[in-house]
Symmetry: C2
């Protein structure tokens, strides 16, 4: 192989949806979309003028790259359902080792886009960091060339580093999103529109373009304003989950700064 021009996707979820469309826009041919969820495969495949089908119908005859973009717990199982082929096989997971694909051959790799994907929200791949892993040097170059077609930010990292990055992503994206959900829920209970705090959320993220989070920290905990913390906790008493989260995070913000000085 000298390049990866023809790609088959296994999975039709958020990652497959965004990645396959980014490939198509970059001139890569997406041959087929195969998924347990036939309807999802069909919807995505029709956008891409690709074949589609279930996991028992995977056609890899022409494939140069097979992308496994399914939930982590199914990667190994699904990889074993791929028919014999000459393609490079990659998964897109942050937390699964490269070795999980060992059984399917030696032409394996990881193509992990570090981003939060929701089907309903379009995004540009060009700014998304893509984390590559590949034990074979020739294949690594092929993957790197492909990655550069859709993103300006391509990194080579190993499975251990990728796992750490994934944990960091859970804290900085999944958990932060949930905290915003709590905020929305608290406002909703008082009939206050969510729009009231949108500028705050945008500025919180914008500040981090220039400031380190340690220096951007504001709020009652970092001021050690125990009076306000107590008032807030009293107010949250009847929502135990929120009470516990408020208490733990306030405590840790205070502690983390004590340890620094």
């Amino acid at each position: 192989m000298t390049e990866l021009n023809k790609v088959v996707f296994i999975g039709a979820g958020n990652v497959a949806t965004h990645m396959s469309q980014a490939f198509a826009q970059a001139g890569i041919r997406v041959l087929g979309i195969y998924s347990r969820k036939l309807e999802s495969a069909k919807v995505l495949a029709e956008k891409l003028h690709a074949e589609w089908g279930s996991l028992s119908q995977i056609d890899v005859t022409e494939a140069q790259l097979i992308v496994i973009a399914v939930p982590d717990q199914f990667i190994e199982e699904v990889s074993k359902q791929i028919p014999k082929n000459n393609a490079l096989i990659v998964h897109t997971s942050g937390s699964i080792n490269l070795e999980v694909l060992m059984d399917v051959g030696t032409q394996i790799g990881v193509f992990y886009p570090l981003q939060t994907f929701s089907k309903d929200k379009g995004l540009h791949f060009s700014n998304i960091p893509i984390m590559l892993e590949c034990s074979n040097e020739e294949n690594y170059v092929l993957l790197e060339n492909l990655a550069h077609l859709i993103s300006e930010r391509v990194y080579r990292i190993n499975s251990l580093q990728r796992k750490k990055i994934h944990i960091a992503a859970v804290f900085s994206s999944n958990f932060t999103n949930y905290l915003v959900h709590i905020a929305e829920d608290l406002l909703e209970k008082e009939n206050i529109p969510f729009d009231v705090i949108r500028p705050l959320i945008e500025e919180t993220a914008a500040k981090l373009k220039n400031l380190k989070p340690y220096h951007a920290q504001t709020g009652p905990a970092v001021r050690e304003d125990y009076q306000t913390i107590e008032t807030h906790l009293r107010d949250l008493k009847n929502i135990p989950a929120y009470y516990e989260i408020y208490k733990l995070l306030s405590h840790q913000i205070i502690q983390s700064r004590k340890n620094k000085t």
Copy 2:
């Protein structure tokens, strides 16, 4: 009084710094900055060509509005150090009741800008929601006119609502910032540059412009991917604070969706 054109600030911290400059840019005269921290008062006052001094030197002779922008626990105490005057007196706190100012007179109010302020980061006030409270109708109109000079988003709310909004702000800004700090710390321990996750943080916030956080939620917890959660927890075992936070937030994300269905 027919308008509030001449303002005195008590406090020279993040809120006073940003708000006094926004007033000055809108053509309001900032007469003086008074603070326990003389040096901070001086730095800010010099930018504004205003008088400055300690709390025992407060000059309110010409003041039409006195803004108390000090940490919550000092508001009441500081308000009692203000010399006799004819001005309207407001504080800028999210969690302190209007009533705390009752002792200083009847011309009192709250002028609470819902934003995260860091001295080192400039920002435009025009998009910042300003929450006003005032029991006197004439004074309310004056405050509202003033607020509209620096922001397009002015809300009238009572002390109870303001407290809820402040709690929501702690979750969606202060706590989210701390989670990003954890992410940065985890990456730093592996010598991975923070830049790697910046696009993720930006997209996490950008998604919330169009999606509700409930629908924007991604990650192992919402997928109930217990295998990944376990792997991550094993990895965090030697940092108890991060372990506890990961565990609690993952658990609550899973629970919160069970309760919805």
